[in-house]
């Protein structure tokens, strides 16, 4: 039995009167590649944002490596407005900022690529090394941390080498072709040395060839970096090929869960994707 890396427990996210994520429960185990699929507006990115601390859930908790990292319950105006389940089950508030969550070992990429646009590929990676600094403002300013600085640079270079991005090291990050930019974004996330990597639609806007390359790439980094990967994706080829398990979301609710074959034949999933009733 593999140990659980990420556990989302009874998470509900309600914006005003709209429930974006409704009582989500999911588990990601060590070394797995788990995908989350669902039509547009199903609440997939919202779930990611809850896990990474962009906003606290309205109700529910998130565990990482067995430790509770996020917890919340309806407060203030939400007390009256709350329409979800499990009200009253949680009483603590634990809402760390995204940088805290990254330090714990959860890294993410974004649906619309968010590279640091005025900087080169190398500098983009180097920024991720900042979170492991031991130098303070004074020693860093007066460059008394030479050894650490050198280590940061060599680690960034090493990462670029492993991910075969050496050739674009000094290019401006945003001048690269789309597929390469995705790779740089993944590389930047890896530079924070995560144990869990969240990919938000990594194949969005890619052509079939780039998608194939990405499929191989994701599989490879999982093995090379000893990662657990949780991703949102729309490209079914990619999802079916590399996922160990799949969660299907529709209107905030988890409607199906299982290995790719089960999902492909699940009538509720087909209904959600194609619409209308399914004739048996």
């Amino acid at each position: 039995m593999r140990e659980t890396v990420l556990k989302v427990e009874n998470v509900t996210m309600q914006f005003g009167g709209v429930i974006a994520v409704d009582n989500m429960n999911l588990v990601v185990k060590k070394g797995e590649i788990v995908s989350m699929i669902g039509p547009n507006g199903a609440g997939k990115t919202t779930a990611f944002n809850v896990i990474t601390g962009v906003y606290p859930p309205t109700n529910g908790a998130v565990y990482f490596n067995g430790e509770k990292i996020v917890e919340n319950h309806p407060q203030g105006k939400m007390k009256k407005l709350y329409k979800g389940e499990n009200n009253g089950q949680y009483s603590h508030v634990l809402a760390p900022t995204p940088d805290r969550i990254t330090k714990l070992g959860i890294a993410r990429t974004f649906q619309n690529i968010r590279l640091f646009k005025s900087q080169t590929v190398f500098e983009n990676i180097l920024i991720a090394e900042h979170l492991r600094r031991t130098s303070n403002l004074f020693s860093a300013t007066f460059h008394l941390n030479g050894a650490e600085e050198a280590q940061m640079r060599s680690e960034a270079d090493e990462l670029l080498h492993i991910l075969e991005l050496d050739d674009v090291r000094d290019e401006m990050a945003t001048s690269l072709p789309y597929g390469k930019q995705r790779r740089v974004e993944v590389a930047r996330a890896l530079a924070t040395k995560p144990s869990l990597l969240l990919l938000d639609e990594p194949a969005a806007g890619m052509n079939p060839q780039e998608t194939d390359e990405l499929t191989a790439f994701i599989g490879r980094i999982r093995d090379d970096f000893n990662l657990t990967i949780f991703m949102i994706e729309h490209h079914m080829d990619l999802v079916m090929e590399i996922s160990d398990r799949i969660y299907v979301l529709d209107f905030g609710k988890t409607i199906a869960e299982g290995i790719p074959e089960e999902i492909q034949n699940n009538p509720r999933v087909i209904e959600a994707y194609l619409g209308g009733a399914v004739d048996e």
């Binding site: 005025s118 500098e123 300013t141």
Partner: protein
């Protein structure tokens, strides 16, 4: 090896610069028409420091703050209050029985203390204000600067700030010699540059480029914004102290929002995100406003013909037009985000491509 060579060249150039400044100082008499040049150099170096400190916030961290004049004022007052010689206090604080501060500290300690006080205020103000973004931050910091200005003129604080009367009679080394403001500003700007090139500087630039991504990379936004704001204000405070020396008297009403806009203009003209751009443009700006465009304010008569429009105040019209042209056609400013460096010029001369050595460990 290369680094050593660069360092030696830089040191030689700095020594040459100081030598030239010293020679100019000896040879230019206060009566000559070049005397204005010395004023421009003094004031320009002071404005260069505050412009670079503003650039650290606006250009490198992406925090659009307009509180610079307020922090300069805190610096200027701190310096003046603590360095007025004890025997002069009775005269300066004549309406407040000699004030409450009865001692004086050496000038250089006063300069440092000016920075520390400005940084301390920035830290306090930063707690609520740095939650705001873009325009809202600008409005809040501008408001703070105006409140501080009013507060310093408040009669009740008179024993400390001398109310709306001016503070004077404190030591003014920056007014006596042009080398003093050059050295102090130079050292401070060097520290800012070192900081921008450190891992913290990279984090600032990441915040400027994309806050959400920066946070996802493990950069604590609140912490780093506070550092940038506090450090920027520290140096604004120091430049305020230098300005107090240069002006030989301090009055709160001169640190108005127009001053902040002047500094902002310098930053924009020089290029948001370029330290050398800010330095160059502050000298240009001060030279234009204090010296080169002065002739526009005088009436000129050529033979029988009186040149129209040339009268007092016309300088400001021309100046505004220049600024509009820059903002419309040279939006990047003089330098954009590039930097002017000795090694860059050396490379150009020796014909090596810059690409080959960019990003190499320094």
């Amino acid at each position: 090896m290369k680094k050593k060579k660069e360092l030696v060249i830089s040191l030689v150039l700095i020594a040459v610069l100081i030598g030239i400044l010293r020679l100019m100082e000896i040879n230019i008499s206060p009566q000559s028409k070049w005397a204005m040049l010395m004023t421009v150099l003094k004031k320009g170096s002071i404005y260069a420091l505050v412009a670079v400190s503003m650039n650290l916030l606006n250009g490198f961290t992406g925090l659009f703050s307009l509180g610079q004049a307020g922090f300069m004022m805190i610096g200027a007052y701190t310096y003046a209050i603590f360095t007025i010689p004890a025997d002069q206090r009775e005269m300066v604080y004549m309406y407040y029985n000699g004030g409450i501060v009865k001692f004086a500290i050496p000038a250089i300690c006063g300069v440092l203390l000016a920075g520390v006080f400005a940084a301390f205020f920035a830290f306090l103000i930063g707690i609520p204000v740095l939650r705001l973004k873009s325009d809202y931050l600008a409005i809040a910091t501008l408001g703070f600067a105006e409140i501080m200005r009013a507060l310093f003129q408040w009669d009740t604080l008179g024993p400390l700030t001398n109310g709306s009367n001016m503070l004077r009679s404190y030591p003014t080394p920056a007014s006596a010699s042009v080398i003093y403001p050059f050295v102090v500003s130079g050292v401070c700007i060097a520290v800012i540059v070192l900081m921008i090139n450190s891992t913290y500087g990279r984090a600032f630039k990441a915040i400027r480029d994309d806050e959400i991504a920066a946070e996802a990379m493990g950069i604590n936004l609140a912490h780093h914004k506070r550092i940038a704001f506090t450090v920027s204000s520290f140096f604004a405070g120091i430049s305020g102290a230098l300005l107090a020396m240069f002006q030989t008297n301090v009055q709160a009403k001169s640190f108005n929002s127009a001053m902040t806009y002047e500094i902002l203009l310098i930053v924009v003209i020089g290029g948001i995100g370029s330290v050398t751009g800010s330095v160059i443009s502050s000298f240009l700006f001060i030279a234009c406003s204090e010296w080169l465009l002065r002739f526009l304010d005088e009436q000129h008569v050529i033979g029988e013909f009186t040149v129209p429009l040339m009268r007092s105040g016309f300088r400001k019209v021309v100046f505004s037009i220049i600024i509009m042209v820059i903002v419309l056609f040279f939006r990047q400013g003089i330098m954009g985000t590039r930097e002017f460096s000795i090694s860059g010029i050396l490379n150009k001369i020796s014909g090596r491509s810059r690409k080959a050595q960019k990003g190499e460990p320094k």
